[in-house]
Amino acid sequence: MADMIKVSGLSVTFTSAGRSFRAVDGVSFSVAKGESFGIVGESGSGKSTILKAVAGLVKFQAGALELNGQAMGFARSRKERQLLQYVFQDPYGSLHPRQTVDEALREPLAIQGIAGAEAKIAAALAEVGLEPKHRFRFPHQLSGGQRQRVAIARALILHPPILLLDEPTSALDVSVQAEILNLLARLRAAHGTTSILVSHDLAVVAHVCERVAVMKDGRLVEILGADALRAGVAEQAYTRQLVAASRGYARGA
C-alpha cells in the first residue's frame, strides 16, 4: 500500500535566547494509507513536536516530509492545507471563546470556499453525536467532552485524508475518554482516514493504533505492532520499562 505520510530524518531544533534544544532528532517512519499510527513516550520526548512538524505548525531544520507523495515544507498553500487536520489536546483552548459552534464549523468551509455550509454543518454535528440544540452555543456553554466533539467535527468537516490527534482524550474524564476514542475509531472506519495518534497513555494507543512508535529524548527507540505492545514483547529495554510503568504499581509479594 502507498505511504500516506513519509517522514525521513526529521529534526526539529528550538532556539531561544541563543540556546538551542533539539526536540526531535533524525526521526524516520512512514504511515500507510488508512493506517492508524501511534506515537508514545514520556513528557518532553518530542512526540507532540513531530506531530506539529508534520502539520506545518513547527519548522523542521533537517530531513524530509512527504504527504500523499508530495514533499511538504513549513509554508503551505491553501490547497495543501486540505491534506490534513489536527485535533488538539485541550478542548478548552482549541475553540474560539467568542464564536458559536456554528461559526467554528463554518469557518473552514468559508476558507476553503466549499458550498453547502448549512447541510454540511448539520451533518458534521450529527456525525460526532451533537444535537442541533448545541449548534448555536458558545464554547463556555459546553462540557469538555462536547467541546472535543466540536473540535473533531471541525477537523473532519473538510474530509481530510490525514487526521493528526494530539492526546485528544487526556484532558477529559475517564468515562468521556472512551466515548471519544470510540467516536474516533468509528469515524476513521467510515472515512478511511490515515491518522497519527500521540499519547502518553499506552492503553489508549494499543487500543486505537495498528503500529506504535516509542520515543525517548527526541529519538525513535523502536516501532512495534500494537499486539506486541499489548503483550509487552519489545526488543528495547526502554520500551519494556515503559510498558511496566504503564501497568502501574505492582504490589510486591
Binding site: 487536520q85 489536527y86 488538539f88 471563546p97 456554528d102 440544540k133 452555543r137 471541525r154
Partner: protein, 305 residues
C-alpha cells in the same frame, strides 16, 4: 391574561441555553452583559450618566427651550441661579444652563473623534505587532515608544502654536498622544492569542494572515480596548477641558466646559456659579465614564463567565 406572559417569553428567548440561530445566541450574550451591568450599581450609575450626556447633546435645542447659547444680555450679567436662569448667567449675561447643554455637544464630539482615531490605530499597530512578531514587532513598538514619550499637553500647545487653536487641532494632539497605550494592550493580547490552539486550528484550515487577524484576533482584543477607552474618556475630557481652559481648545464664543471654567476664574469668589456649573458637568461626566468603564471591564472579563 396573556399580556404578562409576553415579557416572560422574550426573556426566555434571550436566556435560552440552546439558541436556534446565531442572532439569538449573540442577542442572548448581549442580554447577559446588560443584566450584569444593571445589577452592578456603580456601572448602572455610569451608564445612566453617559446616557444623559448623549441625551443632553442630542436634544440640546429642545432642553434649552430654544434659547441660544451665544445670546448675550448684558443687563442680566452674573446673575445667581434663579427660576429664569436655572444655573445663573456668566459675565456676558449668557444662560449657563443652556451653555452647559450645548457644551455636552462639544465634549461628545471630541470624545467621539478621539475614539475614532485612537481605537483603530491602536488596534492595528498592536495586533500586527503582537501576531507577526519579529522585526515588525520591534519596529512598531519602538515607534509606539516614541509617541508615548510625547507629553500630551505640550504637544497640544505646539499644535495650537503651529496650526492655530481650535477643537480639531486639540483632537489631533490628544489622539496622537493617546493611541500608544492601546497598541500596547492590543499587542500583549494578540501575542497571547496568537499562541493559542484555536488560532493554530484556523491556520491549519488555510486561513490567510489578514483573515486570522481580522476575524479571530481583533474581535478578542476589542473588548479590552473598549474598556480602556471608556476608562480613558475621563482623561480625554479633562485634557480637552484643560486645553479649553488654557485657550487652546474650543475658541470663544463656543460653549465648551473648560473654556467656561476659565472665563469664570476671575469672578470665582463673588460669582461662584460661573466656574462651578461647567466644572460640575466635567466632574460628573468623567466620573460616569469611569464607573461605566469599570462595569464593562467586569462584564467583558472572560474569567467571570
Amino acid at each position: 391574561m396573556s399580556a404578562p406572559s409576553a415579557p416572560q417569553n422574550w426573556k426566555q428567548w434571550l436566556e435560552s441555553e440552546s439558541p436556534a440561530s446565531r442572532r439569538q445566541a449573540v442577542a442572548g450574550n448581549a442580554w447577559r452583559g446588560l443584566v450584569a451591568i444593571i445589577k452592578n450599581p456603580a456601572a448602572l450609575a455610569g451608564l445612566i450618566i453617559v446616557a444623559l450626556l448623549l441625551l443632553m447633546a442630542l436634544a440640546a435645542p429642545l432642553l434649552a427651550w430654544g434659547q441660544d447659547p451665544l445670546a448675550q444680555d448684558l443687563a442680566q450679567r452674573l446673575k445667581p441661579p434663579s427660576a429664569s436662569h436655572w444655573l445663573g448667567t456668566d459675565e456676558l449675561g449668557r444662560d449657563i444652563y443652556v451653555r452647559v447643554l450645548y457644551g455636552a455637544r462639544v465634549t461628545l464630539t471630541i470624545v467621539v473623534l478621539v475614539s475614532l482615531v485612537v481605537a483603530p490605530l491602536g488596534l492595528a499597530v498592536g495586533t500586527l505587532s503582537g501576531f507577526l512578531g519579529g522585526v515588525i514587532d520591534v519596529v512598531l513598538m519602538r515607534i509606539t515608544d516614541i509617541f508615548l514619550a510625547f507629553p500630551r499637553l505640550v504637544l497640544a500647545l505646539a499644535f495650537a502654536a503651529a496650526l492655530g487653536p481650535g477643537i480639531e487641532n486639540a483632537v489631533i494632539a490628544i489622539a496622537l498622544t493617546a493611541w500608544p497605550p492601546y497598541a500596547r494592550i492590543a499587542r500583549a493580547e494578540a501575542a497571547t492569542i496568537a499562541q493559542s490552539d484555536f488560532i493554530a486550528a484556523v491556520k491549519l484550515q488555510g486561513a490567510s494572515t489578514a483573515r486570522i487577524l481580522l476575524r479571530h484576533i481583533v474581535p478578542l482584543c476589542l473588548s479590552s480596548v473598549i474598556v480602556r477607552l471608556t476608562l480613558d474618556m475621563a482623561g480625554i475630557i479633562l485634557t480637552a477641558a484643560g486645553l479649553g481652559f488654557l485657550g487652546l481648545g474650543a475658541q470663544p464664543p463656543t460653549a465648551e466646559w473648560g473654556a467656561m471654567v476659565s472665563s469664570g476664574r476671575e469672578v470665582i469668589l463673588d460669582q461662584w456659579w460661573v466656574a462651578t456649573m461647567p466644572g460640575i458637568a466635567i466632574f460628573v461626566v468623567s466620573l460616569g465614564f469611569n464607573l461605566l468603564g469599570d462595569g464593562l471591564r467586569d462584564v467583558f472579563d472572560p474569567k467571570s463567565s
